[in-house]
């Protein structure tokens, strides 16, 4: 508990993550990467929510497939400063 309180105290009030977009999302928004500033403790869902406040609202669904640091991640996955969050259209490989 001490350690965790210590980390919480030392954590920045906001974090910055790199948001990457692919395929249809990237094409529709005209860009494939942007920076998002989020409150400390933000999750993937918070990043999506922030992104959808802009032009992405009509393109990216509320619960898109997502990855954090190149691994598939659920919406409640917590983000840390510097993370790479990717929003993935429905996969169609193979």
């Amino acid at each position: 508990m001490q350690a965790s309180e210590h980390r919480a105290a030392a954590a920045p009030a906001t974090i910055s993550v790199t948001c990457r977009l692919f395929a249809r999302y990237a094409e529709a928004l005209g860009r494939d990467e942007l920076q998002l500033d989020l409150a400390a403790g933000a999750t993937v869902a918070d990043a999506v929510h922030e992104l959808r406040r802009g032009a992405a609202g009509g393109v990216v669904p509320e619960r898109p497939l997502a990855a954090v640091n190149r691994e598939h991640a659920a919406p409640d996955t917590p983000l840390r400063d510097g993370d790479e969050v990717a929003l993935l259209p429905p996969l169609a490989g193979g």
Partner: protein, 137 residues
């Protein structure tokens, strides 16, 4: 792009079979997934495959590692082609060789399923008239 897993060149199926071959492995199974002319598609001439390349390579590596845990004696090789893939050419190839054929079939089929569900890859159909469309199965 990992040379191991992703390629912009035609997939060399013989090479995958050689990679997994070993004279202790009596059964080898190769899967080739190709650009298909579906009835509903109209005149598709090619499909452009795009990937989140760093993640696709990492995900392929995780899939192969998980397969190795399940079938420790198997030889495994995988490829996904990116860029424009003409009609009839392979976009994905998975080879698995094992001492017995049931393991080879199981490992190959498992990897293909996982790849289809997990690889961050997308495809855009290209039609005869130059039009394109993202295809989400």
């Amino acid at each position: 792009m990992s040379v191991e897993y992703l390629t912009r060149e035609p997939i060399d199926a013989e090479r995958l079979l050689r990679e997994v071959g070993d004279d202790g492995r009596g059964g080898a199974v190769l899967f080739l997934g190709s650009v298909r002319r579906g009835e509903e598609d109209g005149p598709v001439v090619a499909i452009d495959y795009e990937a989140y390349e760093e993640m696709a390579a990492a995900e392929f590596e995780r899939i192969v590692a998980q397969a190795r845990e399940q079938w420790p004696e198997a030889g495994l090789a995988v490829r996904h082609r990116l860029g424009a893939v003409p009609l009839g050419e392979a976009s994905i190839a998975v080879a698995a060789a094992a001492p017995h054929r049931t393991e080879a079939f199981a490992a190959c089929s498992w990897i293909v399923d996982q790849a289809k569900h997990r690889l961050p890859v997308w495809k855009k159909e290209r039609f005869e008239d130059g039009a394109t469309r993202w295809r989400e199965d």
